[in-house]
């Protein structure tokens, strides 16, 4: 992989503060955030509520501007929203007055302004098929189940074939069963399309199923990226088999341990040698190598 490919998206020294209420002290949500996304890579972000995950995603989408630092895609600053960054929003945000098909074709028409109506519709149908939604094309979002809506959102985002796909807790509002089905679909689609993706989630298992790397964020304010966890699980992955991989529980325990205890203390008592510009990249393994600094994995609920 060339450096251009390994630094397809590059985030350098990013920080974002919001002015305080009526002259109060400004709130720095996160600072010194650095990471890179390689072409075709799937990155997940995990961190407690309020640490600034959505804010980072909005900056990558060009919908928000950083206070300091820069976000680059293919070496150019992300200055505004564009068709190159597809976004699946936290609450699907389909246009409620349009049908399922229109919601997708609306986006496709914006992407391919020179296409004929027939081309646009055919392309849109193809992506609705991809997420298993044929037959509900004429229904409005309000007539779909939550899972179906989320799939329309996925179809819409994929149909414009963005260079970078940004997802903000896309399955947060779904029940576990539906979520599982759509996760499987997302795994399949991402494998088919080698899509570069950046996804926020609160679900450790979801992150491990999908991601190549997981960014762990400390609590806010002044949150940072504490570690980058490599998910060393072979692909193709599936929900039913991935748990039998020897590295599965070491990784999972590492993540849970971070969320439960280390995320609170990390910011104020960083381990020696921690440099936010180069957050350590860890690869938890069955033999205990690269294990967390203090081994607290044994009490995790799903330990085999």
């Amino acid at each position: 992989m060339t450096t251009a490919d390994s630094r397809f998206v590059q985030v350098d020294g990013l920080s974002r503060s919001f002015p305080g209420e009526r002259g109060g002290e400004a709130l720095t949500v996160f600072e010194q955030v650095n990471f890179a996304i390689a072409r075709g890579e799937f990155i997940c972000v995990i961190g407690h509520s309020g640490c600034g995950k959505s804010t980072i995603l909005n900056i990558l989408a060009g919908l928000d501007q950083p206070s300091q630092g820069v976000a680059l895609m293919e070496g150019r600053e992300i200055a505004g929203p564009s068709l190159d960054h597809g976004v699946i929003f936290q609450n699907h945000s389909l246009l409620p007055w349009q049908s399922t098909l229109q919601n997708v074709s609306f986006a496709v028409a914006a992407r391919h302004r020179d296409w004929s109506r027939a081309q646009i519709l055919a392309h849109s149908r193809q992506y609705l098929d991809l997420v298993g939604l044929n037959g509900v094309e004429d229904r409005r979002p309000s007539q779909l189940s939550g899972g179906m809506r989320q799939r329309v959102g996925i179809a819409r985002a994929f149909a414009i074939e963005p260079k970078l796909l940004l997802m903000d807790e896309p399955f947060g509002a779904l029940d576990a069963l539906t979520r599982g089905t759509i996760q499987d679909e997302l795994v399949r689609i991402c494998q088919q399309t080698t899509q570069t993706a950046f996804m926020i989630t609160h679900d450790v298992d979801e992150a491990m199923l999908l991601a190549d790397k997981i960014l762990l964020m400390t609590n806010g304010p002044k949150a940072r990226i504490a570690e980058i966890v490599e998910v060393s699980l072979p692909r193709p992955r599936s929900r039913s088999t991935v748990i039998f991989e020897p590295n599965y529980y070491p990784i999972r325990n590492h993540l849970v341990d971070f969320l439960v205890s280390r995320s609170k203390t990390f910011r104020d008592q960083p381990p020696t040698g921690y440099d936010p510009r180069h957050p350590p990249q860890v690869r938890p393994q069955a033999d205990g190598s690269a294990a967390p600094q203090h081994p607290a994995t044994s009490g995790a609920p799903h330990d085999p």
Partner: protein
């Protein structure tokens, strides 16, 4: 047990019959076979004169008027259909002109905080002015009574549409706008394909309020300017002391007002969406 709509309709009918019965009873003179004093005679005589016509008289009048609503026998004797037609024509003209002005301006106000703040003082001052207060100025400037009535309708229709459009546009969900932005839609396309449909239900609510107000105002305006129209007609019948006709006109004003409202409510259904 019948369904709710059927029972409601039956109840309405009962209320109508009871109401009409009481009205009829009150409007017919009591038979005074007893020995009548001079005073009684006097009061009864005065009551006879001042008595409001009863429903049977109104129905008989309605039957006659509605069997030939469009007759035209000179400027002071036209059918109720023609008079209502003039009024509806004025209301629709003034109202549509107001929509053409209010909706675009409301859009600008809703999209731009600068314009919102800049125009706010003018709106705050002009909105509470009774539309009829404009009438003398309109008559003076326009020099035409029919056009002045239209102008008054225009003025009174503007505010609800303007304010609702601005509110609807300003409160379009941020997510929808972000969708448009990530799709790189231009400002105009975003306005037409995202903001307009998103705000349309609120805009239509304003349009419904406006048409109701316009219909309220036209009667008063026509009483002032005279000539034609249902307002003028009511006033004219009052001058002729034809109260049967006045009561019938009141009912017709109500019916037409309801139809105008239903029309817009029906149109609003096309732009309604469930979030």
């Amino acid at each position: 047990m019948r369904s709710l709509p059927v029972r409601a309709a039956l109840l309405s009918l009962v209320l109508l019959l009871v109401g009409a019965g009481l009205w009829e009873a009150a409007s017919t003179a009591p038979e005074s076979a007893e020995a009548v004093s001079e005073y009684d005679m006097l009061v009864a005589g005065a009551g006879e004169k001042a008595r409001v016509p009863g429903p049977s008289a109104v129905i008989a009048h309605a039957w006659a008027a509605l069997s030939d609503p469009f007759y035209d026998r000179g400027s002071n004797d036209k059918g109720i259909g023609i008079q209502l037609g003039y009024s509806v024509g004025r209301v629709l003209t003034g109202y549509l002109l107001a929509a053409l002005v209010a909706i675009p301006i409301g859009f600008v106000i809703g999209m731009s905080p600068l314009w919102q703040r800049a125009l706010d003082p003018f709106i705050q001052v002009l909105k509470p002015v009774s539309p009829l207060a404009w009438m003398p100025l309109a008559l003076f400037v326009i020099q035409d009574s029919a056009l002045s009535a239209i102008f008054v309708i225009f003025i009174c229709s503007i505010w609800p549409m303007l304010i609702n459009t601005a509110f609807g546009v300003a409160s379009v969900r941020r997510d929808y706008i972000n969708v448009a932005r990530t799709l790189e839609l231009g400002r105009l396309r975003t306005a037409l394909t995202v903001i307009l449909p998103a705000a349309a239900p609120t805009i239509f609510t304003g349009m419904r309020i406006s048409i109701s107000i316009a219909w309220l105002v036209i009667v008063a305006a026509e009483m002032l300017v005279g000539g034609t129209g249902i307002g003028y007609y009511v006033w004219n019948e009052w001058n002729n002391l034809n109260l049967t006709s006045v009561i019938f006109s009141i009912l017709m004003i109500g019916v037409v007002g309801m139809l105008l409202d239903r029309l817009l409510a029906g149109a609003a259904r096309f732009v309604q969406y469930v979030d």
